[in-house]
């Protein structure tokens, strides 16, 4: 499954990187109720820039998210307030946020902050 080639990426002769996408705190409900996804994305975005987290978020919205309520994940083209992004279990702020360049095998975790108690 994880090794599957994305034909559209192949056409443009683009290499793919594999990564683990995880959701927590209820966000998984927006992604087919599945907490963990293994996906592949092109190494470079449409303007030939190396794939960063900003590109990944757009990719997830367009390809992985079946739920139509995009505004529960992204607001004004940014991750909505209340969602933390962790790159290999470290706060994305430590890694450069949207500018972080994705490496093969990375685990990106999106956590919706809980408030109940």
């Amino acid at each position: 499954m994880g090794e599957q080639q994305d034909p559209s990426a192949d056409e443009v002769g683009c290499k793919l990187i594999s990564l683990n996408i995880e959701f927590s705190g209820g966000l998984e409900m927006l992604f087919s109720n599945q907490r963990s996804h293994r996906i592949q994305i092109p190494v470079k975005d449409s303007s030939e820039q190396p794939a960063n987290v900003g590109f990944l978020v757009r990719h997830l919205c367009e390809n992985l998210m079946k739920d139509k309520r995009k505004d529960l994940f992204v607001l004004e083209d940014r991750i909505r307030p209340g969602i933390l992004v962790l790159i290999n279990d470290a706060d994305w702020e430590l890694e450069g946020e949207e500018e972080y360049l994705i490496q093969d095998g990375d685990t990106i975790l999106f956590v919706s902050t809980l408030h109940g108690g």
């Binding site: 927590s24 705190g25 209820g26 907490r35 902050t113 809980l114 109940g116 108690g117």
Partner: protein, 460 residues
């Protein structure tokens, strides 16, 4: 029942006045110590506390741990901990901290015990349903360990009282259930130089983070969450549900962190702030995440670029901070006009008269499975929400009612009467049924059950 409560009430009032007297006599040192930097003021007056022989025995099993020792036990006895919210998190946290021998344990909550709390709020009890949670909690705690000073605060924590109340404590446990109060606790704790042990839980997940620790060094709530989530994305345990032991576990972990903060020499051990995630049904239930540090420009604990944005004691005190508005207020429902709604009694009449109609229940499938009214059609609210993103919302909605006669009145019901209003409006706009024949049932299934209008019906 009432007389027991009254007696408890009397006893607590007496205790309050005793404590107030004690505090008054100590007020001089309090005003000095509250300005001292971390470590908390209790570290300075080592000689003041002593353990009784009974206490040596009671705490022996934890005192023999090298992590605690006699010094740790003395620190616990000198410490003053405030628990904000004595619900699913606060109950186990309070029990373990009382058991461990914390010297002063303050408990603040304005709520009363309800029967639907008891699957998780384990220090309350069936016999104390209706009692203030704070009174119920202290009744349990005093029986568990009579040594600590228990300080009841039967009121909500507000901008008016927060500074005064929190000034009496060295550590605060945020066991609340709404972002507005979480920001308030944070801002006051930062101003007062108090560390925060913060936890939250929903459904089968929990989160734990220690903030402002040591004060002025570790990140605060606003460093991690500078902007509040949109109000409509905030789900409480009442709506989302909660598995009792999940929130209990998070509360117990708060007690562990509190004990660590109180008994550790903070200067020796400043680690990176981490957040612990717990997912009961996850492949690896515990995860520890490395979090960002204190933000230089944080409006609470840092130096914001625009100086006027800095949150100050005065700003909180004079009510300049509107936390509810900051978090987008409460979702007030005024979707429909009065003539577009019927009461449960009016709907009961429709049923009794045998009027042909469609009853549309928009709760999710799990809730619909718990109980439902006879003959109702279940189409979950989420499907109506999804239809808003279709090319034609009206067509998407219409397709759901293909098999239904269109000449009959439609009554829409949900759990509490909010979602049903939104769906009623959508149905009217989609013009599938005659416009004046679509009604919302006020108060939903909950009101149907509470009113007892059709005999026994489960309330959940």
């Amino acid at each position: 029942m009432k007389t027991i409560l009254e007696a408890e009430n009397e006893a607590l009032k007496k205790r309050i006045s005793e404590l107030e007297a004690q505090l008054a006599s100590r007020s001089n040192d309090a005003s000095v110590t509250s300005q001292q930097p971390y470590p908390p003021p209790n570290a300075a007056n080592k000689s003041e506390v002593k353990l009784s022989l009974e206490e040596y025995k009671r705490y022996g099993r934890q005192m023999i741990l090298p992590e605690i020792g006699i010094e740790g036990q003395m620190s616990l006895k000198r410490s003053r901990v405030l628990i904000v919210g004595v619900g699913g998190l606060g109950c186990p946290a309070a029990a373990y901290l009382a058991g461990a021998g914390v010297g002063t344990l303050g408990v603040i909550d304005h709520d009363t015990v309800e029967n639907s709390n008891l699957h998780r709020q384990i220090i309350h009890s069936t016999s104390r349903v209706g009692a203030p949670k704070v009174v119920s909690a202290i009744t349990y705690l005093r029986d568990l360990n009579p040594h600590p000073n228990y300080v009841p605060h039967v009121e909500p924590l507000t901008t008016e009282n927060a500074l005064q109340i929190m000034a009496e404590y060295d550590l605060v446990l945020d066991c609340t259930d709404h972002p507005a109060i979480r920001y308030l606790i944070n801002d006051v704790a930062v101003v007062m130089n108090i560390p925060i042990v913060s936890a939250s839980a929903l459904r089968t997940d929990g989160q734990l983070i220690v903030l402002n620790n040591p004060p002025g060094v570790g990140p605060c709530y606003r460093c991690v969450w500078p902007r509040p989530p949109p109000a409509e994305s905030v789900v409480g345990c009442g709506e989302g549900g909660i598995l009792g032991p999940v929130v209990g576990l998070m509360g117990i972990m708060q007690a562990i962190e509190a004990i660590k903060i109180i008994t550790k020499n903070p200067a020796r051990d400043i680690g990176r702030t981490t957040m612990t995630l717990f997912a009961a049904y996850g492949a690896s239930p515990f995860r520890c995440l490395k979090m960002r540090g204190k933000k230089a420009g944080c409006v609470a604990c840092g130096s914001p670029e625009r100086v006027g944005e800095k949150i100050t004691r005065e700003g909180i005190e004079d009510g300049r901070m509107d936390y509810v508005a900051f978090c987008g207020g409460r979702a007030g429902m005024r979707e429909l006009r009065e003539d577009e709604r019927v009461s449960v009694a009016e709907y009961k009449e429709v049923v009794d008269k045998g009027v042909e109609h469609l009853l549309l229940d928009v709760r999710d499938k799990t809730q619909f499975g718990i109980c439902q009214l006879a003959g109702s059609l279940n189409i979950p609210f989420s499907e109506f929400e999804d239809s808003k993103h279709e090319d034609s919302e009206a067509e998407a909605i219409k397709s759901k009612f293909q098999d239904q006669p269109k000449d009959r009145p439609v009554y829409v019901i949900c759990r509490l009467g909010n979602d049903s209003q939104i769906v009623t409006r959508q149905l009217k706009q989609a013009a599938i049924f005659p416009d004046d024949q679509v009604f919302d049932i006020k108060g939903g299934i909950a009101e149907w059950a509470r009113s007892g209008i059709a005999g026994e019906f489960p309330e959940y």
